[in-house]
Symmetry: C2
Subunit: 244 residues, 2 copies
């Protein structure tokens, strides 16, 4: 539920847009009208608008009014969003889900895995490999490495439900930032063994390095998706400032 004021405004506007109360290609009330409607300052309204822009609901243009560019689409794909666990994503997309733990063991990072994962050689890690079932179908092969010093005492039981819930609620780890990278890679023997790839000889791979509040990378994650059930969405706006 929305906590802060800007979040209430954001959630309310988003809701009105999604229910088509404000329809595609029409205009939102002006910022001044919105400040009155929500009895807030213009800065707060603008913050909510900024979030709607980032999510592709509206677009703004100095001098003209705020235009709605949201159109409803079917939600029949397993889209991925911010940092969230598989369980959270499955619930958000309205699917039944399950997890099969293939492997859970302690390893020490060698030179090669360190290079690939962002850890240092010698770091002690949990090596977790799981299969994600959506509506009974094995769609994702999840390979994770966690620093044992942060993700203490991982068990199969935890890996089967939700490691993130355990980290946040039990160990009080602050999960902050995730740098992700999406690629298309050739399927390995392991992929083929666990997923039903049909004609595809490739997978959609999302790999990421996750940082906690202390700025240490405590996880490397690699989600290997069956291509026909994978989709990543994004909204880009013409940059208003110096490029990256």
């Amino acid at each position: 539920m929305p906590k802060s004021k800007f979040d209430k405004i954001y959630a309310d506007l988003r809701n009105r847009i999604e229910t088509l109360e404000y329809e595609f290609n029409s205009f939102l009330p002006s910022e001044n009208e919105l400040t009155k409607m929500y009895s807030s300052s213009r800065a707060t309204v603008r913050r909510a608008l900024a979030e709607l822009i980032r999510r592709g609901y509206i677009q703004t243009n100095q001098g003209s009014r705020v235009r709605i560019i949201y159109e409803p689409v079917e939600r029949n794909i397993f889209k991925i969003g911010g940092i969230e666990s598989f369980k959270e994503a499955a619930i958000r997309n309205g699917f039944s889900y399950g997890t099969k733990v293939v492997r859970l063991e302690k390893v020490v990072a060698d030179e090669k895995t360190a290079e690939r994962t962002g850890f240092k050689p010698g770091d002690e890690l949990y090596d977790v490999c799981r299969i994600r079932l959506v509506d009974g179908m094995p769609l994702i092969l999840d390979k994770n490495y966690f620093l044992t010093s942060v993700a203490r005492d991982l068990t199969e039981e935890i890996a089967k439900s939700s490691i993130y819930e355990y980290l946040e609620n039990e160990l009080h780890v602050k999960i902050m930032t995730s740098k992700r990278r999406m690629t298309t890679e050739l399927a390995t023997e392991e992929d083929r063994r666990h997923l039903e790839l049909a004609d595809y000889n490739c997978l959609a791979v999302v790999s990421g390095r996750v940082f906690n509040g202390d700025g240490i990378q405590f996880e490397y994650t690699e989600s290997r998706h069956r291509p026909d059930y994978f989709c990543f969405e994004d909204t880009a706006t013409r940059k208003k400032f110096s490029g990256r």
Copy 2:
């Protein structure tokens, strides 16, 4: 070049971080110190910081200081960022580039292409198909549709250099928002004919719908990438407000 004040602060801080003056896992000066350093208000500093967060340079945590989480990486991959043309992206990544125009013709959208592209049946479109060469290698098959009413008088000459430059500088089209979607798809006969796919039977596909300042979608674009040269990067932060 930076125009606004917040942009100057953003560009300066980003530069200091990239040159490792502020190094990985150390802290930025506090917001109060930064307001003094840049003789600005806290709001302006915070806006610059927000952008640095979004780009994965720093992470913040209420109560503790702003931590740098940027680590330099090799730029040997053709990464894609915001809305930018192929030409802009190639220059940013420091590659030589070329374009071969395979097809440029007027078509009228039928039911099926309308469904796929987001246009309406009956819309008159330019159907453009180009091959993108990076360092001489054909890496991307670019298929674009433009509303002829917006992208008037397209020529092969323009398609060969930069359609975006033409739209912005000649036709003064405001390119605003792009809703993109990344998938992995089976290669078609056309893909195989134009790209050197080797073992891969799939491609990384980025498709997008692009809107101008008037809120009309004037372009549908589909970039079909050779998997071994494709990579999309992204930074996610734990959401502080209602999910999407």
